[in-house]
Symmetry: C2
Subunit: 131 residues, 2 copies
DNA sequence: TATAACATTGTTATATTATAACAAATTTAT
DNA sequence: ATAAATTTGTTATAATATAACAATGTTATA
């Protein structure tokens, strides 16, 4: 059984700090560029930190944008049930925190025999400002 | 108003034919390699065809895998409401066709003021064989 | 404290995915 | 027939992500 630290390593903290300060999804290479002054010089350092942060649910990947955003859902320490709202106009991304929705999806079953333990949902549309 | 052909062009047909023969998601460069004998020599030719096929709903992109799969949902001529089941063991991907689910999600609203017109949902888990 | 086991970091190189830009050919509308 | 629009072919390059391995740091426990 591989043990894992329950605290964040130096690089993980640097990357998380930077992502948390942004209130929008960030691209990996944009993060890299911005944490170079902190000593992270090459892509693997950023991608490794991101992998871990995503794994523990501190950060989510917006798959349709290849971008990373801090979790805004304080009771979402696990990353196995994520839903986002994405504006096609201004690209604003918001994490949806809706107990009914998550309950519905977490309990979803079909007749395929699949046992689901994770989902990611991305909604697209236009926000108020962009309509 | 940009007019668009309602039939498929030569390259679009070639790419769609190939994707429809596979019963699994395919990567763009694997498609490229396999349609080179049909004359499509470079990435833009494949990506252009894919873009269009996705736009008209004949093909869906599995965002978490950067892969493309033919639509198996005959009444889904539009591509604005997609749901997939993905096995983390064998990587089998199935398009979910569940009227209740799609009705629930198509009608989803929150208090953010967003007007949703599209969603993509990816479920992950283990299929019968992989458990 | 030693030291072995393990996890993290630093580093270089490379793989994979996707698009920009523009000329040529084809198709469609007038 | 001609103009407009779309599709295609082509080259180059951008953007995203991982492999591989040595060096360093951390943890457990002998
Ligand atoms: Zn979250
Ligand atoms: Zn907007
Ligand atoms: Zn479909
Ligand atoms: Zn399976």
């Amino acid at each position: 059984m591989a043990q894992k630290r329950e605290y964040l390593s130096k690089n993980q903290k640097i990357v998380l700090d930077y992502i948390e300060k942004a209130n929008q999804p960030l691209k990996a290479y944009s993060i890299l560029f911005n944490v170079q002054k902190k000593g992270l010089k090459a892509p693997p350092q950023v991608y490794r930190a991101l992998d871990r942060l995503v794994e523990i649910g501190k950060v989510h990947k917006i798959e349709s944008k290849n971008a990373f955003v801090a979790c805004k859902n304080s009771n979402c320490t696990i990353s196995n049930a994520t839903a986002f709202s994405i504006c096609d106009g201004c690209e604003k991304v918001t994490e949806i925190s809706n107990p009914k929705l998550s309950k519905y999806l977490s309990g979803f079953q079909d007749n395929s025999g699949m046992k689901y333990n994770k989902y990611n949902l991305e909604f697209f549309g236009l926000c108020k400002k962009c309509r």
